[in-house]
């Protein structure tokens, strides 16, 4: 059999895993678009989508079909290659970190021993397609949106990483699975409250959601970096954005809420996945709730919060962690 070859087996396993993962993530994203609209609608005392299917559940499919059928407009003066590649890059880059996310013990495409490092590395790539889109559109609004993304990612990448150091130090490993296993009985949110706060704020900024949605702030920059995109290209940007949200919430659950663990209870694999996804949705609900509440901050406030508040706090957190660990 060809499958006896360990290399081929690994390849097949990998491909199957990736396909399952991508379809799972896509399904989640589709559901998430519906879920976000519904929650925001409830906050705004509206009904939200309720026409397509029961409770409007088929709305994401209808939206996708609509976006696919739309005319694909490329502005005349746009840099065609960059403009076209940007959404594809965005989509690809957004999917990369999902490879190292464990959904339950064993349910992971690739359990890297430097999992968290890998995720940080590839998630900071997400800036590049935004700048590509912003520059390639040859539009001043998109350019400003792209520039804001750079400012934002520079300001928030650092506290984002620094706040993880405490967790890594406690777990003693960079592997995602081991970080989760280290939290079997106590979640790190209780051991690292300061780190959690910094990480949570930096995470929202990294996913560029309200109040940090500066790259696409609709009341200032129309739609920021994707002003000129339409149809499928726009859909890919949108998809990428929601994937970021899924990844970020998964990361938060892994790092601070014990992944699939419920303290003092051992769960079967299926239950673990359910717990994990349930926790993710709680985090995402909070993110949506914040989006439904807060106004946007300005770029000056954004950078000053990043540099003057979050980075010192993250450093303080590392110091405290170090002191406690050496005791």
């Amino acid at each position: 059999m060809i499958l006896d070859n360990p290399l081929v087996l690994a390849l097949v396993k990998g491909i199957v895993g990736v396909i399952i993962l991508i379809s799972f993530i896509s399904l989640n994203v589709l559901f998430l678009t519906w879920y976000e609209r519904k929650v925001i609608a409830r906050i705004q005392v509206r009904y939200g989508p309720n026409r397509a299917g029961k409770f409007g559940l088929l709305q994401p499919l209808a939206d996708t079909a609509k976006l696919l059928a739309k005319e694909d407009i490329v502005p005349e003066k746009a840099d065609r290659a960059v403009f076209t590649f940007a959404p594809a890059t965005a989509f690809a880059v957004a999917l990369l970190p999902t490879m190292a996310i464990p959904f339950a013990s064993g349910l992971i495409v690739s359990d890297l021993n430097i999992g968290i490092l890998y995720i940080i590395a590839v998630s900071s790539l997400a800036t590049i397609p935004v700048i590509m889109g912003g520059w390639g559109s040859n539009n001043k609004y998109t350019l400003l949106g792209g520039m804001r993304t750079i400012a934002q990612s520079i300001s928030y990448e650092i506290p984002f990483v620094l706040s993880i150091i405490g967790v890594v130090a406690l777990a003693g490993s960079l592997s995602m699975v081991q970080i989760i296993n280290a939290q079997t009985n106590i979640w790190y949110v209780f051991l690292q409250p300061l780190g959690f706060v910094v990480f949570f704020i930096a995470m929202i900024a990294e996913t560029s959601r309200i109040p940090f949605d500066l790259p696409e702030s609709e009341s200032e920059l129309v739609a920021g970096f994707h002003t000129e995109y339409s149809g499928m290209k726009f859909a890919m940007f949108l998809f990428a954005e929601y994937i970021h949200m899924v990844v970020a919430s998964a990361l938060l659950v892994i790092l601070f809420f014990g992944g699939w663990n419920i303290p003092f209870i051992t769960l079967p694999v299926i239950a673990q996945a359910v717990v994990f996804i349930g926790k993710m949705y709680v985090v995402m609900t909070v993110m949506i709730w914040i989006r439904g509440t807060l106004p946007r901050i300005t770029i000056v406030q954004m950078t000053s919060i990043g540099w003057k508040v979050l980075i010192p706090l993250a450093l303080l957190n590392i110091m405290i962690t170090g002191i406690f660990m050496s005791l």
């Binding site: 609608a41 409830r42 906050i43 705004q44 005392v45 509206r46 009904y47 309720n50 709730w289 509440t293």
Partner: protein, 158 residues
């Protein structure tokens, strides 16, 4: 400042929005649910041909000139109280058109009608695909109103 100090402890905004999640939606599911329309609503015109005396007041009153009347005169014989037969000229409305594409529903035509031959209904759904079909003649102006009245008559029965 006055308002800022009027309360010492404000509920945080996150809780304000949380509170609203559990409230009933205030929006209306349009084609199925409809808002109640007050009597004075200025919707589609109703034209009562029997009351009209073809005085053209509505046409003159219209700020946007969206009413057009075509009038012909005809003679009728009437009996005076003395028993004599007299010929009298009368005006008759052949065509009464309202161009809704231009109408702004100000109601001045209704105000200026001396005989109450014009009215305004609560009808508000008359979007159409081309401009020409927005010209409403006697038949369409009357039919909508009649349908309404029929509905009203039918209603009390059950």
């Amino acid at each position: 400042m006055v308002l800022k100090l009027s309360k010492i402890v404000h509920t945080p905004p996150m809780l304000v929005t949380l509170k609203h999640i559990f409230k009933k939606a205030f929006t209306v599911q349009y084609p199925e649910e409809r808002l109640e329309i007050p009597e004075r609503f200025r919707g589609l015109h109703a034209y009562y041909a029997d009351k009209c005396i073809a005085c053209m007041m509505c046409e003159k009153a219209c700020p946007n000139k969206c009413i057009q009347l075509e009038i012909s005169t005809y003679e009728i014989e009437i009996e005076t109280p003395d028993g004599e037969k007299k010929k009298k000229q009368k005006k008759k409305v052949d065509e009464f058109n309202i161009y809704l594409g231009r109408c702004m529903f100000c109601g001045l035509c209704v105000d200026n009608c001396p005989k109450g031959a014009l009215g305004m209904t609560t009808e508000y759904e008359f979007s159409d695909n081309d401009r020409k079909s927005l010209v409403y003649g006697i038949d369409r102006l009357a039919s909508k109103e009649m349908a309404k009245e029929e509905e009203k008559e039918n209603e009390p029965e059950p």
